[in-house]
Amino acid sequence: MSDGLPSSHIILAQSGIMPSLPTPSEPKPTPETAAPSSPFSGITPSLPGSGTPSSITPSLPGFSAPSTSPSSSPNASSGTSNLNITITNPDKLPDLPPGQHELKLVIQDGSQQPPADTGLGFIEIFIAVVAALLIAPFVQRQAGKWSANLNAFQFVQRNGIAISAYLLFFTVGWIVFMIVLPQLYMFDFSFRHNLNPSEIGGPADTYTLKNYIYLIFGREGDSDLLNWLHLAVFTKTIIASVIVTIINFALCYPLAYFMAQSVRGSNQRLLFLCLLLPFWVNEILRAFAFKLIFADLGLMNSFLIGIGILDQPYDFLSANVALYTGLTYAYILLMIFPLYNAIESLDPNQVEAARDMGASWIKIHTRIVMPHAKPGIASGCTMVFMLTAGALAAPNILGGPSSLWFTQIIYQWYNTGGNWPQGSAYAFVLLISCIIFVRIMMRVFNVGLGDIAKR
């Protein structure tokens, strides 16, 4: 949404350890202004009792624990000085007499810091070169043997060097940097504290379960046992998505059956085009169209008042009528095409034979058509469910002011809430629920993932 606040900057405003949901009215400093105006933002007091092993820092001046970590923050290299005061737990320093607290002042100056964030240093490259030279003779000796049975060599032989490089570069880049690693990073991030960028990689950057605990139990010290608000939204999102999926199936099945079994030729092509056209219209506009219909002064209220059913406008938006109708509409075509494709491959003679043998109308569908269309049903239902549960635009536009969709909470954590780890935890919960749903569908309908994704 275009609220005008750069969400990548908001994270700075949060002092990391607080699990509270901040109000949107908090000042949001930008990274350029944040570091000089508040030089103490990097102070991490690790108090006795809460001391983790990482709080013992080597007392070499100018070489503190944060700087040895590879994931130093972008701020650290930009020349601003961060002051890190670490009060270590006396119990953990046996050399000192008991009771004597040691105050260590570790001044971490970015300009004196070794450039830890350039990734590959000279040493790494040197080691890599030496290793390559050591391995080379061995590889040369074995290459002949390997090339006969190694897929990699066959691959290059088959495609040529240039094409192999192209294929590998794009496929590996896609899988590693766009599919796998981002998900893993999000998973990792969901177990972290909400820290300032300057603290990332520092002693405070430890793993925690609190983001997940917050979803279930809410803030510490709340009177309620569970975080009812968010759990209720989550449950509502899942249940509503299931209901929307069922309604979609009920709406589409008859049409898909009719199209597959009775319509032929140019009629069919026209019908297809008509079904596809609304799908090409922007999702936002499709939702907005429903807002027009169900608004206070919209068509539905005018109509109902006009024929005398209602006296005054009914608030369809608050009652979520508009939301559920709009969601059903939004992904209806992802239901109809898999169903159509599956039913189309059914031999009409089977249906005719069953009818001749005296099977009832219901039996024909439950015993012949539906079992045959299983992959299509699984595919359609999965796609509709996933898209509905993951919808953000339609709930934003059509949802009532008091009702939330789970994705909206995730979005709030990112945008106005400024707590990305918390948002990641919520997003991960959504992802897991979707995966569970897909697994259930695959198990129930006995189909593979390939059948589901094919549209």
């Binding site: 949404m1 005008g4 750069p6 094409i163 609304p278 090409w280 506009l285 027009l292 995730i410 994704a453």
Partner: protein, 300 residues
């Protein structure tokens, strides 16, 4: 006979209602763009006007969003079409044992909610960028993030298009070209790409349109900037000005023209394939008939 008659009418009524549901909301929205009423509605009708279209051009955020959308669309096409092609060719070549795993991975972005793809892209580049020492400004550039984030799943869509076409590719063509001394690069550009041309065109259109109308991923990756779709969502949520209906008419008009061209082309291609299949099948039956005849005469 009367039950058969009734059945027919029930089906017709059902289809009519279904299409009313599909098109009704869009028609109502389009109509409201021409209503003079200051609130987007068609009841009551306060006179026909086109003034809302004029207001569109004055909205700077929408205009800049439009240009952002176009640039991002071009970037997504440039990234996701080559990626999808590589992914599809790889699928044809990976070993039997690896194939299911590989397919699951590359197809999974289709099923992962767009919200999650957006979030994970932003987090990954923010953290990964600082680890390997990439420039902060680069890895947090909204255009970079949006293009990468959208390409994650648009590549998967396009890959499915390529796979469908590649499955009909005759490998012997490639082998023949290689035997005659063509290099691998020449085979790629002169044999494979011409064969895949329709699929490439489909993917380009699909990638651009999907990118253009994407909201769920873009809203996270664009950070403070906006594309036409995210600006539109802001207007649709808070705005009560009929100019959004006018914009809807414009966008719908353009997308529908694009979609009709795309669909018609696709259908035509399918018809050609069907015809060639039929011809091949007929030829086969003729051949077998001839062979059978020959066998019969030989036997006699």
């Amino acid at each position: 006979m009367s039950t058969e008659h009734l059945r027919k009418w029930v089906i017709r009524g059902y289809i009519a209602l279904f299409f009313l549901y599909l098109f009704g909301p869009l028609l109502i929205m389009s109509a409201s763009a021409f209503n003079a009423s200051s609130y987007p509605t068609i009841t009551p009708w306060e006179g026909t006007t086109v003034k809302w279209f004029g207001e569109l051009a004055d909205n700077e955020r929408l205009v800049s969003g439009l240009f952002n959308s176009i640039w991002i669309g071009i970037g997504v096409v440039a990234l996701s079409v080559p990626t999808a092609l590589a992914g599809a060719i790889m699928l044809m070549q990976v070993g039997e044992r690896v194939r299911p795993i590989y397919y699951t991975i590359v197809v999974s972005p289709v099923l992962v909610p767009g919200v999650i793809i957006g979030i994970s892209t932003v987090i990954f580049w923010e953290r990964f960028g600082s680890i390997v020492g990439l420039d902060y400004e680069t890895t947090n550039n909204p255009f970079f993030l949006t293009i990468v984030g959208q390409s994650t799943f648009i590549s998967a869509y396009c890959m499915l298009v390529f796979i469908a076409r590649l499955q009909r590719f005759d490998k012997t063509q490639e082998e023949a070209a290689l035997d005659l001394g063509a290099t691998h690069v020449q085979v790629f550009w002169k044999v494979l790409i011409p064969f895949l041309r329709p699929a490439v065109l489909s993917s380009v259109v699909l990638a651009f349109l999907t990118s253009f109308e994407n909201y769920n991923t873009t809203v996270f990756t664009m950070v403070a900037r906006g594309t036409l779709t995210t600006e539109l969502a802001g207007l649709a949520r808070f705005g009560v000005n009929p100019s959004i209906s006018a914009l809807a008419v414009v966008i719908m008009g353009l997308t529908l023209i694009g979609a009709v061209i795309y669909e018609v082309k696709k259908r035509r291609e399918e018809v050609i394939i069907d015809k060639s299949k039929k011809r091949a099948a007929m030829k086969r039956t003729k051949d077998t008939e001839a062979a059978a005849k020959q066998a019969a005469t030989v036997g006699a």
